[in-house]
């Protein structure tokens, strides 16, 4: 029996097998391999690169959130940066020192992180009635307005954010006296702060990715897809549009909040000007490059964009006309930040035109090629 089944891996004998997340041996093996690789990376690469990994994981949580509302439910949101900011400031205020000039409650990350998600989710819930009345470009414009409102709020609310140009200290990663942001021994092994942060971000990414994947394959995820593809037909099938758009916005914003709080445990300062339109566009780029309406694609896209600055920072060494100085005082033609912005745009256009399903679509092509090998169809 078991022998027969191993020879026919896609013969399902129960509905539970048929509906399992990892329903083929190939998926089980590749996920296991990826997990092992991810767990060994902190011992193989240097801290600055490790930082990029951890940041990529945090970005991926945010990208998954945006993919839930924009990819799965089809509601284009340019307001993701606002919810990231809500999460970041909530967590920073809750975990911040009580005796500085900034708002701070001195709580631990185990409180700060979930509450950041809840507060951002609540903000999304409050915004969601807009989404049930608007769609397409109108919704995109309105959510864009949210970013500008947020920018103003963060500039002016100095006791919370420190104001423009100054900023406030980031989120303190303290769990019961265990500091993720300081080097120390873990089970007798000396670990750097980056190694610890890497594992924290990785663990949270796994949890939130699995939760999102479950949501996507449930009746809720199907309702999202139905609303995206044909909203009238969805309603005639008994899917209340307003309710599901609201769920999509709430969950998406909560993910953004978690991502925001995690991102600013990695960096020591939160600069209010960073929650701008460019940040929203970066998240859009992540899901377009990674793959719309896929969880693994969101992660791939976030890692891709997370490592993009790493690549562009090497560019000045190769091309003298690219400057590292924002003011171009060393005679460059453009600076690395402009180069990054141009690359975001170019990549979005290139993927939309050439590979609309993103990196995930590329992977599907590769997989189908080997499935069909030696035939091309």
């Amino acid at each position: 029996m078991s022998n027969a089944l191993t020879r026919r891996p896609e013969l399902y004998t129960t509905y539970a097998q048929d509906m399992a997340l990892l329903d083929t041996p190939a998926k089980r093996n590749s996920v296991a391999a990826l997990a092992v690789a991810a767990l060994t990376v902190p011992w193989l690469v240097v801290d600055p690169v490790l930082f990029l990994f951890a940041q990529g994981f945090a970005l991926a949580i945010g990208a998954i959130g945006l993919n839930l509302v924009t990819g799965y439910a089809g509601q284009v949101s340019l307001g993701h940066a606002f919810f990231v900011a809500v999460g970041a400031y909530t967590a920073a205020a809750l975990t911040g020192d009580t005796d500085t000039r900034f708002v701070g409650f001195g709580l631990q990350l185990v409180v700060g992180l979930p509450v950041a998600g809840l507060v951002a989710g609540l903000a999304g819930f409050v915004i969601s009635p807009l989404a049930s009345r608007l769609r397409g470009l109108y919704l995109a414009i309105v959510t864009l307005g949210l970013v500008f409102l947020g920018e103003h709020l963060w500039k002016e609310w100095r006791s919370l954010t420190g104001g423009l140009g100054a900023g406030r200290p980031g989120v303190v990663a303290d769990v019961g006296g265990f500091r993720f942001d300081q080097p120390g021994e873990v089970f007798g092994v000396l670990m750097s702060s980056q190694q610890k942060m890497y594992y924290l971000c990785f663990a949270l990414l796994v949890v939130f990715a699995v939760l999102a994947r479950n949501l996507a394959r449930s009746a809720v995820g199907r309702a999202f897809g139905a609303i995206r593809d044909r909203d009238v037909a969805a309603e005639v099938l008994g899917v209340p549009l307003a309710k599901y758009k609201s769920i999509a916005f709430t969950v998406s914003s909560a993910y953004a909040g978690i991502a925001g709080s995690l991102l600013y445990t990695l960096t020591s300062v939160i600069e209010p000007a960073s929650f701008n339109l460019l940040m929203s566009v970066q998240y859009i780029a992540m899901i377009l490059i990674g793959g719309v309406a896929t969880i693994s694609g969101s992660i791939a896209g976030a890692m891709f964009l997370g490592f993009l600055p790493f690549v562009t920072r090497q560019a000045p060494a190769l091309f003298p006309w690219i400057s590292t100085d924002p003011a171009l005082r060393d005679g460059g033609f453009i600076n690395v930040f402009q180069l990054e912005a141009i690359l975001y745009g170019a990549l979005i256009v290139a993927f939309l035109v050439l590979q609309p399903r993103g990196l995930f679509g590329l992977w599907v092509k590769v997989r189908n090629y080997w499935k069909g090998w030696p035939f091309s169809y």
Binding site: Y15, A16, D18, M19, L211, A212, N214, L215, S218, A219, V220, G221, R222, A223, G225, A226, R228, D229, R230, V232, A233, A234, E235, V236, L237, G238, V239, P240, L241, I247, V251, A293
Partner: protein, 302 residues
């Protein structure tokens, strides 16, 4: 062809559509139309293009709100209800131009049909424990029966956008059946289908009546199919009801013939009577005659 004695015939009608009026800026799409559908009945609505057939469906499923009249479904007045609320009461529908979720697989489309039976929330869904898991597995089992019934086993995991037209029509019927409806609205289920696909669909419709005993409202241009399957027929023209009755009576009704052939004198009608049959059968003559015989044959061999 009245094959079924309606289950629970003593009970009131499933659907009462009385004196409904629907206007779009000067155009009266539905003009005081009334009809009832009894339990287990197959009620057909016919009429030339623009007669208001699909508008009636849109009023029934709550997409349009009528200006006057009342619509009572299972004893409840549903005018003003949202489409999803009406769907939740058990009214299922297919569309004239397929309205499937083309990026989702056949399984997901059918599972969406079961949405009104799903009782778990998004938190339970994220954890995939308890009610979410139990209900998903139960739904999966339920739609497998529909997959088997409609013979679409080989397409289960394909996105429906990739499937041939005839199969998509079948999946859409399956999605409506997955709702376990109390009333099924079929909007041109065989439009654009070839003879073989039409015969298959006719067989599915008959099976739905006999095995599932679901009352059906059918809008269709294939007159052979309508005349064979329907218990009663309502003919509309420009939103006005012309006649309601047995298929054979409606077919002979002078107003109906006039509506389809462009109302001439009595002499014209008599002269074009043979042509009327042809036209009424969708203008396809011979192939439709085949459809005409087929369901009877299917019954014989069963």
């Amino acid at each position: 062809m009245a094959v079924v004695t309606p289950a629970g015939a003593g009970a009131g009608p499933v659907l009462e559509f009385s004196d409904v009026v629907l206007r779009f800026a000067g155009v009266t799409a539905i003009d005081r139309v009334s009809f009832t559908v009894d339990p287990g009945e197959l009620f057909a609505i016919i009429g030339p293009n623009g007669a208001g057939k699909t508008s009636i469906f849109n009023v029934l499923s709550g997409v349009y709100a009528p200006e006057a009249g009342s619509v009572s479904f299972l004893g409840t007045d549903i005018v003003g209800h949202k489409p999803h609320a009406i769907a939740a009461m058990g009214m299922a529908r297919t569309f004239q131009n397929i309205e499937l979720f083309e990026n989702l697989t056949v399984i997901d489309n059918l599972m969406l049909g079961r949405h009104r039976h799903i009782r778990y929330g998004w938190l339970s869904a994220m954890a995939w424990l308890g009610p979410a898991r139990t209900q998903e597995l139960a739904s999966r089992r339920a739609i497998e029966e529909i997959i088997d019934f409609l013979e679409i086993e080989q397409y289960r995991k394909y996105p429906v956008g990739l499937l041939p037209y005839g199969v998509q029509k079948r999946v859409e019927l399956g999605r409506a059946l997955a709702m376990e409806p109390r009333l099924l609205l079929l909007d041109e289920p065989v439009a654009g289908m070839n003879l073989e696909e039409t015969e298959d669909m006719a067989r599915f419709i008959l099976d739905i009546r006999e095995e599932l005993e679901i009352p059906i409202v059918l809008v269709e241009h294939d007159m052979g199919l309508v005349m064979d399957l329907a218990d009663r027929v309502l003919c509309l023209d420009f939103g006005k009801p012309l006649t309601t009755g047995k298929p054979s009576d409606v077919q002979q009704h002078p107003d109906v013939i006039a509506a389809y052939l462009g109302g001439g004198s009595a002499v014209d009608v008599a002269a074009s009577d043979a042509a009327a049959d042809d036209e009424a059968a969708g203008g396809r003559g011979e192939p439709t005659a085949g459809t005409h015989d087929r369901p009877a044959e299917t019954k014989g061999t069963r």
